[in-house]
Amino acid sequence: MLARVANNLFWMGRYIERSEHVARFMHVNYFSSLDAPNERSQNRQFVLKSMRFMIGDPVKESAEVLDEEQVLYNLGMNADIPYSIISNVKWARENANSARDLISTELYEAINKFYHFVLNYPVETYVKRGLYDFCVNITEMTTILRGKIRGTLLHDEVYAIIMMGMNLERATQIIRIINTKYNDALMARGKSVEEEVGYSFEWVTLLKCAESYDMMRRFYKKPPNSVSTLEFLILNPDCPRSVMNSLNQVTKHINVIDRSKYPPKDSTAFLVEKVRADLKFKYVEEIEENIQDFIEKKLDDLVLIAQKMEKEFFNY
């Protein structure tokens, strides 16, 4: 596979995954706030700021009053904003275009439909009453894409590169979502996390943002608290959205690209194993003790993996 095309496919995977997480985060947060148990969580400004925080564009002045329609527009359909869903979908398609000969017609057609859906969605409807419909369609279409990727591509290097992109992005987004909701939980109570957020409504929202609430309940058979939520979303290898699961996937796919038994220490495969091992032998109390450090460290690790890949495989 061409190095340039590999780079494009890697990013196609990332953009598809990213648009899904942004869309789900937006609608889950927005709609769960409507009947939230405390005033803070019900506050629309609080929800909008949470969205901005998650996307990586936090509101600097806490007193700043956000315009709801503007925030929704910017996150969803403003093509001039690089983090918007529409920008992500455009780039996913652009990257797919450049690899059109490698991917299946079915996958390309699905991406193209996805693009035209977003492009043609009426902005006015979206910002006024279409948030749910728009976001749910985005998540459903990304699910279709994932199905087409798994079901119509040869499970070779091309597939491995796309899956690496998707899983690295998934791990990144899940950590960002945890970070955001942890932050929200703190602000909602205004007190320390340990004391107050045991049964926080924010944990349910967090799990729903990762489509993991139902399975979490099945696994623990108890309402979520900070420890069980973090454990499930970070460490549980069977939870398909967990960071651990994503890193396991990344490891599996890097081994398709780099088949050496003992990868050298400056290779991507080595770094991936190292990051994975570090997480595998962590326990949740350790993480919870200093969650902020953990989040920053893990985000850095993920960036390092992507940079290493760029150097090793995408250098053209």
Binding site: M1, L2, A3, R4, V5, A6, E94, N97, S98, R100, D101, L102, T105, Y108, E109, N112, K113, H116, E157, I161, I257, F313, F314, Y316
Partner: protein, 491 residues
């Protein structure tokens, strides 16, 4: 069957035009009768719905092209007409033989003009024809292309005149495009109206890519066992990018850009995730002057530095060969009957349109005097750009065109206005079928001791009423084209 109360109900037949479907008495010709009956069962509403579905199918598949010239390049669907064109087996045989004959003759001509130039020495074509052509590449002199083939892929544009005869309008042997649309048109028609195929046995068109790969591999460099073939594209913003990606995918080879390749010790490599991989055959969809900045345009970012040197050494095959453009020059076209006779000792199977060379003083005079009856074409443009149809020009435009011709007579040729045949075509605005002019582009492949003509082709339709220019960049659409397997076409 009468046309009243059917979707052909309002079909207007202009008696001056050659209608491919209806004879002079207004009845559908034998080969079209069944089709006409089947389409006659649709109401306009049904048909509109089918048409919209077909359009959506093209859009979702991303089968679009970009139009240059506007401020921003726009993505458009290539308009597709659901009423197919049918060509009977004998008629097709004539076209196929003619297309192969031209390809072979052009290949021999190219070999000759880049080697001994016997045809010039024997006084068949004038030397200026070559020396004045911008597409004649001195770099190709004395170079033996692998497999001795220059024009591996030819697209021949053919029309049916009002006399019912086929004429060749031009040979395209640089980077002829359109073959992917032939396949897409068939797919779209099958999706929308699969039932009609029960009544006709049409040759498949999906075998083009496998034949193309075979042809490309037949001209592999010496000493290569199983060649590595790639398609090179200028990139995804090129108007024919869909086609480039389709061909690469259908052949199962890599689609590369210039920046994916490099040359080392006169061998060509592509940069992959597992290091360099040697390339033996390149199907290039990048124009001559852009393929190698060291040899041609130094500012080209689309090419590969050193590629031509590797080609000269015989380490890589380029298809088509650089410098083929000299032979699809519209001035060379006019010598085609002589060229065919000279190399093959045969009469041309497909007719040429009579052509006036503005470079010849007496013919230039004729052209200037009869400009309203002629089509004036620049010899070195493609895509329908720069064509003036005399009968459509205003007085000011005529004097402007005359000035242009006088300024550089070598640049222009003129031909009588040919009346392209018409075919019933669905027109969105009027929601009915109307007569529209069509041509046919056939695709011929020439390899080392092997050849292939795609049984089908791209029937291009001029969608604007009365328009004779069918190119997609000028508002043309296309039709699926069926070449029938047996005489009456029925199962």
């Amino acid at each position: 069957m009468k046309t009243e109360n059917t979707i052909f109900g309002s079909y207007q037949k202009n008696p001056d035009l050659f209608d491919e479907v209806f004879d002079s008495s207004g009845e559908a010709k034998e080969v079209y009768q069944k089709l006409f009956e089947l389409y006659g069962n649709y109401s306009i509403d049904d048909y509109v719905q089918l048409n919209n579905k077909a359009k959506a199918s093209f859009f979702n598949q991303g089968i679009t092209f970009q139009v240059y010239g506007d401020q921003e390049t726009k993505e458009k669907i290539f308009p597709f007409d659901l009423f197919p064109r049918i060509i009977g087996p004998e008629e097709w045989d004539h076209i196929e033989q003619g297309a192969i004959q031209r390809s072979r003759a052009l290949n021999l001509f190219l070999w000759d003009i880049y080697h001994d130039k016997k045809i010039v020495k024997d006084g068949i074509v004038p030397l200026e024809l070559l020396s004045s052509s911008a597409n004649y590449l001195h770099q190709m002199l004395g170079l033996d292309p692998p497999g001795e083939v220059y024009n591996h892929i030819s697209g021949t544009d053919i029309i049916k005149h009002s006399d019912g005869e086929y004429y060749v309008l031009e040979d395209n042997i640089r980077c002829p495009s359109g073959v992917s649309y032939v396949v897409c048109n068939r797919t779209a028609l099958k999706r929308a109206l699969f039932g009609v195929f029960n009544h006709y046995q049409a040759h498949t068109v999906v075998n083009y890519a496998e034949n193309l790969l075979q042809i490309l591999e037949s001209v592999k460099p010496k000493g290569t066992d199983s060649p590595n073939t790639v398609v090179i594209t200028p990139g995804m913003y090129n108007s024919a990018y869909y086609e480039h990606s389709y061909l690469a995918k259908a052949m199962g080879v890599e689609l590369v850009e210039g920046r994916d390749l490099y040359v080392e010790n006169d061998f060509v490599y592509m940069k992959t995730i597992s290091g360099p991989v040697r390339i033996d055959v390149i199907y290039r969809r990048v124009d001559d002057l852009f393929i190698d900045p060291l040899e041609f345009k130094p500012d080209s970012a689309l090419g590969v530095p050193g590629l031509f040197a590797a080609y000269r050494r015989g380490n890589v095959c380029l298809a088509n060969a650089p410098g083929t453009g000299v032979a699809d020059d519209k001035a060379v076209y006019t010598y085609m009957p002589e060229i065919i006779k000279y190399y093959l000792d045969q009469d041309p199977i497909l007719k040429n349109v009579h052509t006036y060379h503005c470079s010849r003083p007496d013919e230039l005079r004729y052209v200037l005097e009869h400009i309203t009856e002629l089509v004036v074409k620049p010899v070195d443009e493609s895509g329908g750009y720069g064509i003036s149809i005399g009968s459509r020009l205003s007085k000011e435009e005529i004097s402007k065109v005359k000035e242009q011709i006088k300024k550089s007579p070598r640049k222009y040729i003129a031909q009588p206005i040919m009346s392209l045949s018409v075919h019933p075509t669905y027109i969105d605005e009027s929601q009915s079928f109307e007569q529209r002019h069509v041509d046919l582009r056939t695709f011929t492949l020439l390899g080392h001791d092997t050849e292939f003509v795609l049984k089908g082709g791209l029937s291009r339709v001029a969608l604007k009423k009365g328009n004779l220019v069918v190119n997609s960049s000028q508002g043309g659409g296309s039709k699926d084209t069926w070449v029938l397997k047996n005489h009456n076409g029925k199962c």
